[in-house]
């Protein structure tokens, strides 16, 4: 194996891309979810992510199986259906130094776990929250999910008469500070969004359309490869410029772009996301614009991808709770158990 590796291909931590892999996938060949796992591996390798600090969390579904297939040196928790958000909430409260990556499905987050999804966002739990959205329940063999197209017909389940839930729009309404949509067939965009999401402090939601090749890949379905390739309208080219990357910033020839074509979104740590307009006008710093855009996309059936909404992060849940800087999980005994004198004093007061 080692002989196959290209010499010199190591990242800042001295690791190869291979070191960021997980177990072998057991998903159907061609499943959109696998390609997202691959992008996670690439990004983690590229940015030199320290896997030991990462936790991977998921619910139940084909999508939720994927944490087993990337970042093998990270702790992982494959929880129960729809409840990954609460587990992530608890884990990040226990240790706010952890970098949390959650993977969920449209069934997991859009139906059984819809409440938890919204409440995690409301609390601003710091994590990257990926939804691998295929419009069906893959693992239970192809029932409609709540994101399925209205009017779509499936072999056993007939016609879906209900309107789809737009999980990105729900995230914005819920108060998420980073909301994006992407397409697992658009690897480069998935990667740049992941990079930006990892740099974000707060809940970063990425709703990735990820075709289920087994149960929902007919070209008429908005969650199919063919449809995605034919109809995707990317809003911007996205690039994360790390903190202190000033020289390159000046290299850009702003004149090449018309006014409004480049948007630079500053992040909390001084890095920024540079967006070069390639599709319809959209400034992701406006919540109203983002909601209008998604409303329009919904009614006109537009498959818009990119960074939809970004806002200066609110305090995270841990910050709101005024917790110690030392993670709760690392507090030594003398910080955890009050003194005997404290107990005696309490007892005196109760006599």
């Amino acid at each position: 194996m080692a002989a196959n590796r290209t010499i010199g291909k190591i990242n800042a931590l001295g690791l190869t891309r291979e070191d960021y892999k997980g177990g072998k996938s057991t998903l159907c060949p061609g499943c959109g979810h696998d390609s997202i796992s691959n992008q996670i591996i690439s990004v983690a390798y590229d940015v030199g992510l320290k896997q030991e600090n990462v936790i991977k969390l998921s619910g139940i579904g084909c999508s939720s199986k994927t944490p087993a297939y990337f970042l093998g040196r990270s702790h992982a928790f494959n929880a129960i259906h729809g409840r990954m958000p609460s587990v992530a909430t608890g884990a990040t409260l226990a240790n706010h130094d952890l970098v949390a990556i959650g993977v969920s499905g449209d069934g997991d987050s859009g139906s059984i776990g819809f409440g938890q999804f919204k409440h995690l966002i409301r609390r601003n739990v710091p994590m990257v929250y990926i939804i691998e959205n295929n419009g069906v329940y893959g693992l239970t063999k192809g029932q409609f999910s709540a994101t399925a197209d209205a009017g779509q017909v499936l072999k056993y389940y007939g016609r879906n008469e209900l309107p789809p839930i737009d999980l990105a729009l729900e995230a914005i309404i819920g108060g998420a500070t980073f909301v994006a949509r992407s397409f697992s067939g658009h690897a480069e965009q998935v990667r740049s969004l992941l990079k930006a999401a990892l740099a974000h402090r707060g809940t970063a939601v990425i709703d990735i359309i990820s075709p289920c090749v087994t149960f929902n890949n007919t070209p008429t379905s908005s969650k199919s490869y063919d449809y995605g390739k034919a109809h995707e309208i990317a809003l911007h080219e996205i690039e994360l410029i790390p903190e202190g990357f000033v020289p390159e910033r000046e290299e850009i020839n702003i004149q090449d772009y018309e006014e409004g074509q480049i948007i630079e979104v500053e992040m909390h740590d001084g890095s920024y996301i540079r967006l070069k307009k390639v599709g319809p006008d959209h400034d992701p710093r406006s919540r109203v614009q983002a909601m209008e855009l998604l409303e329009k996309a919904g009614t006109e059936q537009l498959f818009l991808t990119g960074l939809l909404y970004y806002e200066e992060p609110r305090p995270t849940l841990g910050e709101t709770l005024n917790l110690t800087d030392t993670p709760l999980a690392h507090l030594p005994e003398h910080k955890l158990r009050p003194s005997k004198e404290a107990l005696d004093k309490l007892m005196q007061g109760l006599m």
Binding site: N53, G90, T92, L93
Partner: protein, 613 residues
């Protein structure tokens, strides 16, 4: 009429002597009228007189308006169980007055508002009518406070009629209002006025008296929920996630109130995170995530909430994650009798989870044990990497109990088998490997690493079922069978470490009583009464599941064993039939789930009924 609950009655009729420090009274008011402050003032004043006292709130599921009763029992002999009958009724709720008066024994006393002009329907009781409205009218009290303050009238009248020093009622108010002058004065002036009115206008014509004793010296008075909260805070709890539900809410309220105990003096920041979740599923999920990541995590709930936690309880059992769940039990489903006490969750709690699960359950029987199990539960959870469910109940949790001051934990925190970076390195150096679920010590408990451990081999993949001992996904039957065998080993190992039963045993006695939790005072009193009639009993109080050899032996060593509990199906008895499978003849279930704390009378009568057969 039961014998045990009516000693006073027989004294009234037979001897006519004064009855001192051995009777009970009932305060009937409307829910939400603020009578709790008056009732606690009485309880505290009696406690300050040194008289053993216990107050129980029997309240409806309602915020305002429905009838509510508070019973206060004084007992020179230190009995604290609920009595089925009370000799004195403070009938301050017109809608139940007829019923309240009818319930009094002959020779009883009724105190009621004068303005009702209530006819004296019974000749065998004493009536004291007091001008509630007029007494309060004399003071400038804001309208919104008037109803609550009206209840102070009966405090003053009771103090005068039955001899509580006025000053002690004042001290009781000072305690209750944390020394705040304004509310103390507002309430006390009414007590004093009522006291003086009674002195001038009422002629004492009953035989009940309080007399100072020294039996509460050095004791504290506290609810089980507050005790549990303190226990958790002294046990190093770091994450609390919960969803409000009676009767567990006051447990988390007390954690919030005492959070300052865990504010780091060096930084002013908190060492405990308290999060109100969106429901009990999320509360359970949050503590599972937190326990996994190294927190001491807990929730507090009651039956309906426990149902919602079932899936996570099963996951935590199989993924082997320490969490602590306090279930302060109450009657039935949400629309049932949510403010009535019960021990109806023990079967559900013991087996909660799908697949083959048996959970460690702790069964505190006193406020002291609520405190002790409050911290000890975390040690057990982390030692065995598993959920620990503590089953308290409404009676223990929400009522005030006398107790010995709590003992400071006698041992350091037990964080269980956790390998940090250095320990993991050493482990691997010695054993050549480390796998999460491998049973290196043959005690069923593996070594865990916490997320964030800075070692390339620290990570493992956590899931419920479907893994081998290396924490690798596996659907192989033999892997799973091996895992189940290890979990069984772990569970058997836990038997020796959970709180052991409290046993009073004499081989000459042929009858045994088994019970648990808040029934303890009733069982103890019933035993005394049975013994007085020549029925000697042994007693074993179970403090945890799984049970031990001691329970097995106790069952087998008696001719008859009565299993006494506060539910209908005899749930503990059913558990014991599983735990002691050899027994087919000894155990008899004595179970009553009427929503009220167990009475000695009921136990006495039922044991006697069987024994007399």
């Amino acid at each position: 009429m039961g014998v045990i609950d009516m000693p006073a009655e027989s004294q009234i009729q037979e001897t006519g002597k004064p009855i001192v420090n051995d009777f009970a009274f009932m305060v009937a008011t409307k829910n939400g009228s603020g009578s709790q402050t008056s009732n606690m003032a009485l309880v505290r004043a009696l406690f300050k007189m040194g008289i053993p006292v216990n107050g129980k709130n029997l309240f409806p599921s309602n915020i305002k308006g429905l009838p509510t009763w508070y019973t206060i029992r004084v007992s020179k002999d230190g009995y604290t169980a609920r009595r089925a009958t009370t000799e004195i009724a403070i009938a301050f709720n017109e809608s139940t007055a007829a019923e309240d008066i009818a319930s009094l024994p002959s020779g009883g006393v009724c105190i009621l508002p004068q303005e009702w002009n209530w006819g004296h329907t019974r000749e065998d009781i004493t009536y004291y009518e007091v001008p509630v409205k007029d007494t309060v009218k004399a003071f400038d009290i804001p309208t919104e406070r008037r109803e609550q303050v009206s209840n102070m009238v009966y405090v003053g009248v009771v103090a005068r009629l039955f001899d509580i020093p006025l000053e002690l009622t004042r001290e009781a108010l000072v305690d209750q209002f944390g020394g705040k002058e304004k509310p103390v004065t507002m309430n006390y002036q009414v007590i004093e006025a009522a006291y003086n009115w009674a002195a001038e206008n009422l002629v004492k014509s009953d035989r009940f008296h309080f007399a100072p004793m020294d039996k509460t010296k050095g004791k504290i008075i506290i609810t089980g929920n507050e005790a549990a909260a303190l226990g958790a805070l002294f046990g190093g709890v770091t994450v609390v996630a919960w969803y409000p539900i009676t009767p567990s809410t006051s447990l988390v309220d007390a954690i919030i109130e005492n959070r300052h105990l865990r504010t780091d003096p060096d930084t002013g920041k908190d060492t405990v995170a308290i999060m109100q979740a969106e429901d009990e599923i999320a509360a359970a999920g949050a503590i599972v995530g937190a326990g996994w990541a190294g927190a001491r995590a807990m929730t507090a709930t009651s039956g309906p909430g426990l149902s919602l936690m079932a899936e996570f309880a099963g996951l935590a059992y199989f993924a082997e994650i320490p969490i602590v769940i306090w279930d302060v039990t109450r009657m039935g489903p949400s629309t049932g009798l949510p403010t009535r006490t019960s021990q109806g969750d023990i079967l559900f709690a013991y087996f909660i989870g799908h697949g083959d699960t048996r959970q460690i359950c702790l069964l505190p029987g006193s406020v002291e044990e609520c405190f002790e199990f409050g911290w000890h539960a975390f040690d057990l959870a982390e030692q065995f990497q598993t959920p620990v469910i503590v089953l308290s109940d409404l009676d223990l949790g929400m009522n005030n109990w006398m107790a010995e001051p709590f003992t400071y934990p006698d041992r350091p925190l037990n964080r269980g088998k956790v390998l940090d970076k250095a320990a993991l390195e050493k482990f691997i150096a010695e054993k050549g490997e480390w796998y999460r679920y491998r049973d290196y010590d043959k005690d069923g408990v593996g070594y865990r690493t916490l997320p964030g451990t800075d070692h390339p081999r620290a990570a493992y993949f956590t899931r419920g079922t479907g893994h081998d001992d290396r924490a690798v996904y596996s659907e192989r039957s033999d892997d799973w069978v091996e895992n189940m065998a290890r979990l069984h080993r772990k569970f058997e190992n836990a038997r020796g470490h959970v709180p052991q039963p409290v046993v009073d045993y004499d081989p000459s006695r042929k009858i045994g009583l088994i019970s648990y939790g808040s029934n303890d005072p009733a069982v103890c009193e019933a035993r005394d009464r049975l013994a007085a009639e020549g029925i000697e009993t042994n007693y074993l109080r179970i403090r945890a599941l799984p049970t031990t050899q001691a329970v097995h032996d106790f069952v087998m060593n008696h001719e008859r064993v009565y299993v006494i509990e506060n539910n209908f199906d005899g749930q503990l008895c059913q558990v014991l039939r599983i735990e002691v499978p050899e027994d087919t003849t000894h155990m008899r279930s004595l179970a009553l789930g009427d929503g009220l704390p167990m009475t000695p009378k009921w136990i006495y009568e039922n044991v006697k009924r069987y024994e007399d057969k």
